[in-house]
Symmetry: C2
Subunit: 498 residues, 2 copies
């Protein structure tokens, strides 16, 4: 038996005007209550995505909803083709930017399905074959939606659908009246001509992105009253979700975890300490190399994200300044990461890092980074185990998206010994001009030395990927460490530029 | 006697290495203290702008400073040519975006002088003549700097300069060594060939943008030690400024203030109330007109900023929804303005509005706006008189910058009578589905009715400009008001598209 098409399985529900007038006040009442609760509790945000086949009533439904809700707590977003700034970042960047803070609702016209639909549309001629690009686009979305849900976002995905006859009748009616003709776009007419192919594409997208944590709701768009109430009810369900879905079962100890014991965090460079004269000479030479690489024509197609992690006083700031000294001031930004602000805490974990991604031809250098989740937040129990444990996979996916977008990701663990750290703390305490570097937290972190080392080993074992490898830098000798960092960074860029 | 050129009046100060090593720790010590105070007090931000003639040591000085300060509280910004997103907004937009919050320092390489220098460079051939475009660019900057200072930003403007021989010697030395050659850009070489012309341009810019509240400090860049200490001292002075400059003397009652008594805030439309049938027909027709205008090819060169002000329950939300129903969801954003967040309070007043400006071809509709300063903040004494009094001129300048950038600014005052407002409050109280519209503040505001009306009259008299006129809408009949708004908006857009 051939599979039935989407328009053949629509609910076919109709409402009389009277039924609608009876049901609406109750729904609106509950929506307002739920919206109020959402704002009061500040424990989650709601993202509703509305897709639809043309003329199924997508805009009408959203406008209707807006009339019911408190407009101060809802924002509606539509997306055009990407602008220059968006093009220069990974495809999901512009959606990350508008993730609402806890307490608020965002309604997205198509949202991240926009690019997926275009991509699927292009691949349609290939019939059934799913090119790798499309598969990755689906994976990115599945992973994004799982992460949002885990991070406290209620996700509501609604697809409006109508049968081909209904679509045609609606478009014809709008078109025949000169006061409503503007409502039918060229794009609508093009898609309508191709109803069955479009429908198949939509079906495959819905199927590919269906997940227990992020299910689709197909709503029959034939009856205006029915579809409005139905979408309203879906939103209400999203608002009323009591808590996060149960965590996935803890992963079995992976190969990577076993490998962690083999990660070596040497702090002592092999060979002698680098003498000042040799250092100056090599520094100048390496900075020149980096400067020239960053001015190559091909560099404009890439960007660099450099990540510095390491114990306090491991020399991150000094190493970073040796890099930036080689760069044009307009070409880089250094982003120091400390405890998140309230605004950042109200968003999914990775949100604040997405915000700082560089445009093409530029550097963002993170002085500490998203790895805080599996370092300080793990060691000091600032995040529940379920959250930092899933972070490894989320981070790998994040960095993969960077790499797919030709961003060169370079990660450095500056490894100092416990004795050297103590010596540097002492020096800071003695030197008043380094007082901004002294923090009681640093001493506290030092107490957890072994746990940090273990966390760092796990981190490196689980996130040392081909697209974003770690460089462990023996950092007891600052000069040595700085030269190693510069050389590794220049090597990575050179390889990427080919 | 001919006027002496800038390089002829440089201080010529030199420091021995010993003098430097003696002076530096004291300066750094005070800088760290001042930075700490700045963060603790949270009462002001610091913006330092560093300009310079090529090879005067601009980058070197900034790098040096960065080594002295606590990097967590400073951000350095360089600016390239404008990207797509920046091009679509008024020229100062990208600088507004990075104004630091109170407690922080931003160091800007050239900052808003970048475009001014380009503009002045282009006009150089005209010798002495100052084209109107350049004059406006200077005015914009003078006004911006005054406003920043009044709004609690310490502004430090430093210009580094060297004589032509020094410049040449430095560029030659860098160029002759292959490990440092990359430090000399093509642009540097071009500018160096033209030393005297460039110097004259810089002189004229410095002179034109010198103000008591925002003075320039010319620093001799010849000696590396001297210039670093000197710039550090300027920053220190900016950090240590105790309080805001004295307010300008209150303006004498202007013609506009007298005219305020003549502003009529009629709430009753002339003629009969609009009947439902007539309303539906006209609404459809006006929405169609607006939709077609917004889809015209020429519209892509413009953008629309629509502002809605009016007493509570005057029908702002309803009027806005009648506009957005005619627009593509990807084409507009509705921004409801309420009390500023802590993040917004930490910035100059207009900051949060600049943030929401639409790209070309788009609408931003403000449900309440920057006029809050001269309405609620004046009436409820939330802003000191000196602040709301200067706001009229600042707002006119802001809107002028929008208009200069082909943004169509449409402002609506929805005028309800006191009796009609009471009737609507009553309806809201009776209808639980309008409960999100009921706010104890609304009743409080109602008590200040006459003061609001006076504030609205003053506002209209002082900010009803040719480039951003007010439309006073008689709003006791909602249908009438909505049709008037739609028609006025469509008229303004039509005129602008020509």
């Amino acid at each position: 038996m051939p599979r039935r098409r989407l328009h053949e399985v629509l609910s076919g529900r109709r409402l009389t005007r009277l039924e609608y007038k009876h049901a609406l006040p109750k729904l609106q009442d509950r929506l307002l209550d739920a919206q109020f609760e959402l704002r009061q509790a500040q424990s989650r945000a709601v993202v509703m995505i509305v897709t639809g086949i043309p003329a199924a009533g997508r805009s009408e439904v959203v406008n209707e909803l807006l009339g019911w809700l408190d407009p101060k707590l809802v924002t509606v977003y539509g997306f055009r083709g990407m602008n220059d700034v968006e093009c220069q970042r990974p495809v999901l960047w512009r959606y990350w930017r508008i993730v609402p803070p806890k307490g608020r609702i965002a309604i997205l016209h198509a949202g991240w399905y926009q690019e997926l639909m275009q991509l699927a549309g292009r691949g349609r001629s290939g019939k059934g074959s799913r090119p790798p690009e499309l598969k990755r686009a689906v994976d990115r979305i599945r992973q994004l939606e799982r992460m949002l849900v885990q991070d406290g976002v209620s996700l509501v995905k609604v697809h409006l659908h109508v049968a081909p006859e209904t679509q045609k009748k609606r478009l014809d009616a709008l078109q025949s009246d000169k006061t409503t003709r503007w409502r039918v776009s060229t794009e609508d007419r093009r898609l309508a001509r191709d109803y069955h192919a479009i429908e198949r594409t939509l079906e495959s997208i819905l199927a590919a992105t269906e997940q227990p944590t992020a299910p689709w709701h197909v709503v029959d768009g034939t009856d205006a009253e029915h579809r409005a109430l139905e979408v309203g009810r879906r939103l209400l369900a999203g608002l009323e979700v009591a808590q996060r879905p149960p965590a996935a079962a803890p992963a079995a100890p992976s190969k990577a975890a076993k490998l962690a014991t083999r990660v070596s965090l040497t702090s002592l460079p092999t060979g002698a300490r680098v003498a000042e004269e040799e250092y100056d000479e090599q520094l100048e030479q390496l900075q020149g190399r980096l400067a020239l690489l960053s001015r190559r024509k091909h560099f404009e197609r890439h960007a660099v994200v450099a990540v510095f992690e390491g114990m306090d006083a491991s020399g991150k700031g000094g190493a970073i300044r040796r890099i930036t000294a080689a760069l044009d001031a307009r070409q880089f930004r250094v982003v120091p990461i400390s405890a998140p602000s309230p605004d950042e805490l109200a968003r999914p974990y990775l949100w604040r890092f997405w915000f700082h991604l560089p445009p093409r031809g530029n550097y963002t250098i993170f002085d500490r980074s998203w790895y805080g989740r599996v370092l300080v937040e793990r060691v000091r129990a600032l995040a529940p185990a379920r959250d930092w444990q899933r972070a490894y996979a989320e981070i790998n996916e994040f960095e993969l998206q960077l790499a797919e977008h030709s961003v060169i990701v370079a990660k450095f663990w500056l490894s100092v010994s416990r004795a050297e750290q103590l010596a540097r703390f002492g020096e800071r305490d003695r030197n008043p001009l380094k007082r901004f570097k002294v923090d009681p937290e640093d001493w506290m972190n030092r107490k957890h030395w072994n746990e940090y080392q273990r966390a760092a080993r796990d981190m490196i074992a689980r996130t040392d990927t081909a697209h974003a490898p770690w460089t462990v830098v023996a950092a007891d000798d600052k000069r040595h460490a700085r030269l190693v960092v510069l050389r590794a960074l220049a090597d990575r860029i050179e390889t990427a530029l080919g």
